[in-house]
Amino acid sequence: MSRYRTVMHPTHIHRRKVMLSAGASALALECGPLLAQTSGSVPPDELLATTPQDAALIVNRRKAEQIVANMLKGRALRDGLIEATVPDIAEDGSAVPVSFLVNCSMKNDDYPETVHVIGMVNPTPEVARYHFTPACGEAAVVFRCRMHASSNLSFVANMADGTVGMTQRFVSVTASGCI
């Protein structure tokens, strides 16, 4: 039977092609008003998430972004204030080695009162807060943090003179830290 199917009359093929194109135009007509409705605004991130886990990450990231915005209070960022070292790929999200150094003289008002470390998709975004005094000599810390998924780590330094600096570093997390 299959032998007969392979032999087709040219007009038959032609009619199929016509039908296909007619179908495509009908689809375009149906979607037309819908596309027009949404083209003006970007769809919310939640609609782009394919799994509930993705949606949860988006919610966490929004929360983290809000926390960072509250810390910065709209101030201008100081360039190159914080040097952060993170691994490109963390195989174990439950202990990611992280270090940072704040470039400042540590004299008078030129020292960081607090340095915040924020995991941008962690369920509890703020990871740690370090408080320095001029007696530290240098604002440098090495520690290990937990990371829920591949994301940015943000470092925000609040200087004693009221200025602020921020650095973000991306870490690919292979196995979640399950925090």
């Binding site: 470390v117 369920p123 807060r129 370090y130 408080h131 005094t133 007696a135 240098e138 520690f143």
Partner: protein, 94 residues
Amino acid sequence: MIKCLAEHVMQTGRRRNPETGELIPRFLIERLECQYNGKVVFYADWFNGVSANPYLRFKLRAVESGTIEIIWIETDGTRTTASAEIEVMGPRVN
């Protein structure tokens, strides 16, 4: 340079007991304080995102001989301390 390591599970309060399914209560080292001759010179607030058995390395300017004391404070207020003596030789710098 000060290095310190604590042995602690750092329970976040989000994990469940695999047998009963109950949430394990939050129990962290919430603060680490460093005192240099009785004066707090550095402290850290830790939240859920700090790894279990937290390791920390930071720096201090050695200006005088004395004691450096590290205090770990847990969620229930328990204080654990460790201290080391430091001897500074030669004239004091600034």
